[in-house]
Symmetry: C2
Subunit: 358 residues, 2 copies
């Protein structure tokens, strides 16, 4: 039996409920494929602030570093929104990304045939959409120095952040993107703002140079404003997208929302070595926390991404993904994806249906 040490970060809001389902699913798939998991929970986000005063206690980071993969549910909530930034849940997440050196964020936006009608876009526009956004995650304006709020000569305040990329940072994420495109449809679109920003000019130059090593990949470039338009206009033109931290934040969420069902979407954050971080795209939904209403599927699909990208167990990932399709085919729906004629279930019941399907 292959054993994996998994750190679980249930976090805030609906986090614990959906995490419980993912753990059950992992355990069952593990039994079936002779894998075993040692799960250890750790605190992050708002619940960590409440317990320790810090959104990312150092024991949590240490424990994540010592594991084979990290499964996160969701962080944040109104309660912590007005704390100073270094004490906010989001800061814990940024610290975790930096602390594990997770420079590559993979954000699939896939529309499942069963849920096409959940989209705000017309059926013919979104049917078959299958986009992978590769977002740089430890650089750019999220981490660039100098940053802060400074006083100007005239005595007024000036807020400052720095968007910066070095050549090696660009190359590193570029390679992940080209490799990702290679496993998909072989099309890569790099998004920047090279008509205005120097940092984007360097980005475009390097990605263009890298392309020489990936002659099987069809590379294109779009300015970020145009990319946002094209995602809305005709998303099927995209296969793999690569972009910086901030543009990736915006475009991956826009792409996710094209599906109309963000309760379905997982993500992976990877470094060059060491454990990856796997988490749903959706938030902690404090309004429905503890009510057994949450959709656990994004969390379960995050566990599948963990198996595929973090633990190199694609067979187990496929089993989970197929179980998800099966429960959707059988008509099970949580409230967020409910539609006429389907069976409305809670979080726990959806979990049971998934275990049944497995």
């Amino acid at each position: 039996t292959q054993n994996y040490r998994i750190t679980l970060l249930p976090g805030d809001g609906i986090g614990p409920e959906i995490m419980a389902i993912a753990v059950d699913v992992l355990n069952l798939v593990g039994q079936q494929l002779d894998l075993s998991f040692t799960f250890t929970e750790a605190a992050i986000g708002g619940s960590a602030i409440d317990a320790t005063g810090e959104p990312l206690p150092s024991e949590t980071l240490k424990q994540c570093q010592d594991s084979d993969a990290v499964l996160l549910a969701a962080i944040g909530g109104y309660k912590w929104d007005n704390l100073p930034r270094h004490q906010r849940p989001e800061t814990g997440l940024l610290g975790l990304r930096a602390g594990l050196n997770l420079f590559a964020n993979l954000r699939p936006a896939t529309i499942l045939p069963q849920l096409v009608d959940a989209s705000s876009l017309k059926r013919e526009v979104v049917e078959g959409v299958d986009i992978m956004v590769v977002r740089e995650l430890t650089g750019g304006i999220y981490f660039g120095q100098p940053k802060g709020i400074f006083e100007t000569e005239t005595g007024e305040k000036r807020g400052v952040n720095t968007m910066a990329y070095t050549e090696s940072e660009i190359d590193r994420i570029g390679r992940v993107a080209f490799e990702t495109a290679r496993k998909r449809q072989g099309k890569l679109c790099s998004v920047d703002k090279a008509n205005v920003l120097d940092v984007s000019q360097l980005w475009r130059d390097r990605i263009t140079q890298l392309a020489a090593e990936y002659s099987d990949i069809e590379l294109s470039h779009l300015y970020v404003d145009n990319a946002a338009m094209q995602l809305v206009r005709w998303p099927k033109q995209f296969d793999t997208i690569v972009t910086g931290n901030l543009f990736g934040d915006i475009l991956s969420d826009a792409a996710a929302m094209l599906t109309g069902s963000i309760g379905m979407l997982p993500s992976a954050s990877l470094g060059s070595s060491g454990p990856g971080l796997f988490e749903p795209v959706h938030g902690s939904a404090p309004d429905i926390a503890g009510q057994d209403k949450a959709n656990p599927i994004a969390q379960v699909l995050s566990a599948a991404m963990m198996l595929r990208y973090g633990l190199d167990q694609p067979e187990a990932a496929i089993k989970i993904e197929q179980a998800v399709l099966q429960v959707l085919d059988a008509g099970y729906r949580t409230g967020d994806i409910m539609s006429e004629g389907m069976k409305l279930v809670g979080c726990r019941q959806m979990g049971d249906a998934l275990l049944q399907a497995l």
Copy 2:
């Protein structure tokens, strides 16, 4: 007779064709309402580069400064895409914005009942959408210092741009936004990334403080990633949006594309005093330039915005806007907005229909 000195910047691609229509429309409305226009053309963008080596010759800027308003068509094209940045068409536009101190960009995204089906979104999602994006236009990462491509200690290159706002810059655009919301539905949504960026924290704090002076306006805040999602999910929740230069670039284009017909959308760029700049949202469409296929309506509606916001002649603006609705009701459509059962016309014919309607 009130006389206005208008600088015309036809620019590149389809620019001259659509500008010609707008001039005809302005002249006719002027006759009807006892206004007269003295038009003077000047060079900008690619055609200026070809003629003078510079995208914004100093005579052009000077002439714009000396006029009552500036009407621009479109700039850019493949031909100039690989020039160094200081010689690119876009740089001319940025120089014009800075040179005229046009800090407030008004970008309406309105869906006309006649064109609802042009949208990639479902009818019930976009019907009645009427959003005004107020984008800060002379600050933020577009102009922040330091910027450039520098060498690091290890000898590799690092691209750098600075996103910065001072309190007075935020207040200035904030006031325009609150005033704009007051003339609309009284709802203002400020978009930032305050959970990550210091500059956004200052932005949010100042906008929140300003709100005390505008107690009749309902203010909300969204993070930019969430704003991109909400625009796709349910755009009708928005009335007026205010945001910085870069976020405004992305969100105003995303909002524009919700309509599915960006050939219809005008924009205004305003300073505290001095001439404003009025231009379509769409680009120079070099692929159809000179073929009499372009849609002149965004240009004509930009002339209407010029009359309303630049010359304080709302009556003339309304006349033009009504003529546009009339030709659409009569079934005239250029290729970009053509649909079954409508009358396909070229640029010139659309212009004639507009003159007829007036």
